[in-house]
Amino acid sequence: MIRLGALAVGLLFVLNVLWGAVQPREAEAPNMAEELHKHPKQMVWAHNGPGNLGIFGTFDRAQLQRGFQVYKEVCSACHSINRVAFRDLADLGYTEAQIKTIAAEYEVATIDSNGEPTTRKATGADKFPLVYANEAAARAAQNGANPPDLSLMTKARHDGVNYVYSLLTGYSDDVPKGWNKPETSYYNPYFHSINIAMPPPLAADGQVTYADGTAATTDQYAKDVTAFLTWTAEPKLENRKETGVAVILFLIIMTGLGYLSYRKVWADVKKA
């Protein structure tokens, strides 16, 4: 009985779903954006360690500081890194005094003694303030676009680290024939919808002057700021990998000992 019922139910589902399968499909309009879209360039990063495998490797502190400089002088005009606190900059190798100075360049909201909203200089305990108070303010100021917060950007996109670098270096004036690009947008095949509202941020060599003598090229800027944004998204990256190596070594030894014990325990059964 139960099997007859099952047979009936089974036939119902099978015929139903196969009926759907044989329905004609509407021809999908060719999606030019999909064809133009490019996967991120695969780059080698200091924090990925030997072989770019991501098992070892630490951030290049000097690079992070340069990246922070690029962020501050270029990106921060429109993009916040609101999840990063000034105190976190100690990870980049800044001293407490330097952090204080950096923080003091920013204003954060507070209330004065009369209860009126005002601002004060930021301290190490504060986070980087938002550039725009809210999305509406951002869109009003940015021609309808909303520059996203960059704190987590390298984790919020597929292959995010390479994506950010590719996006920054992927602008092209070479718009393919037949591609519809509005005047207010820019052509960037690494962006999901190809047309991006952000003007090329790293436009010219020499735009940012590095104190440490590193070549001031747009490519270098892109690498440095990408490394910096990798850190903002995953500040515990080094700690994570160090812990991981220790944990796995421990587990391998533990499992090895466990295996020997297992062999001993089972020796008289296997002999049978």
Binding site: I253, S261, K264, D268
Partner: protein
């Protein structure tokens, strides 16, 4: 070809076999047990103050607007701080008291920084059961000794915030602080 399990008992092991096994088992268990320690520690440590809480562990206080006789309240580590600008009379009065007669014997100098005896900075937490004493704000009761008065159970503190009467066992606690300038301190 019997296939029954031979139980691991002493009498079917070769001489010395049991000890070797025991060592291996103990070593395995001990090694695995050692791994429990860091795991347990990370479960304990996550309850310690987080980085953002620690970052707020020090506050800057500006005393420049504080006239003699006035006091301000601030917050440090989630607790009230009383900063009091003592008048010369209060200082003289406090120094007259026989320290040995106090419940918690401390002189005013013990409770202030050298050269800055007029600035008395204490926690605003009664040492009895943790209420916030009155006396820091304008018009609040200052108690029988002209300092602070805790309304919960009637503890009276003098101008140096020393316990003089009531159930509190200790003087109001002085937090760690340093003068950054004559009228600016960092607490914590």
């Amino acid at each position: 070809m019997a296939s029954e399990v031979r139980q691991a008992t002493a009498d079917n092991l070769e001489p010395g076999g049991e000890r070797r096994r025991d060592f291996l088992y103990v070593a395995t268990a001990a090694f695995a047990g050692a791994g429990v320690v860091p795991v347990a520690w990370s479960l304990v440590n996550q309850m310690n103050p987080s980085a953002d809480v620690l970052a707020l562990a020090s506050v800057d206080l500006d005393l420049s607007a504080l006239q003699p006789g006035q006091a301000i309240k601030a917050a440090w580590r989630g607790k009230p701080i009383f900063a009091r600008h003592l008048t010369p009379e209060e200082i003289a009065e406090s120094n007259k008291v026989d320290v040995a007669s106090l419940r918690d014997p401390q002189s005013l100098a013990d409770r202030t920084k050298p050269g800055n005896e007029q600035w008395l900075i204490t926690l605003g937490v009664c040492t009895h059961l943790g209420c916030v004493p009155l006396g820091a704000a304008e018009g609040e009761a200052k108690g029988d000794f002209g300092g602070y008065f805790c309304p919960c159970h009637g503890s009276h503190y003098d101008a140096a915030a020393r316990i003089r009467k009531g159930p509190a066992p200790k003087n109001l606690e002085v937090p760690p602080y340093t003068f950054k300038s004559p009228t600016a301190v960092t607490i914590g």
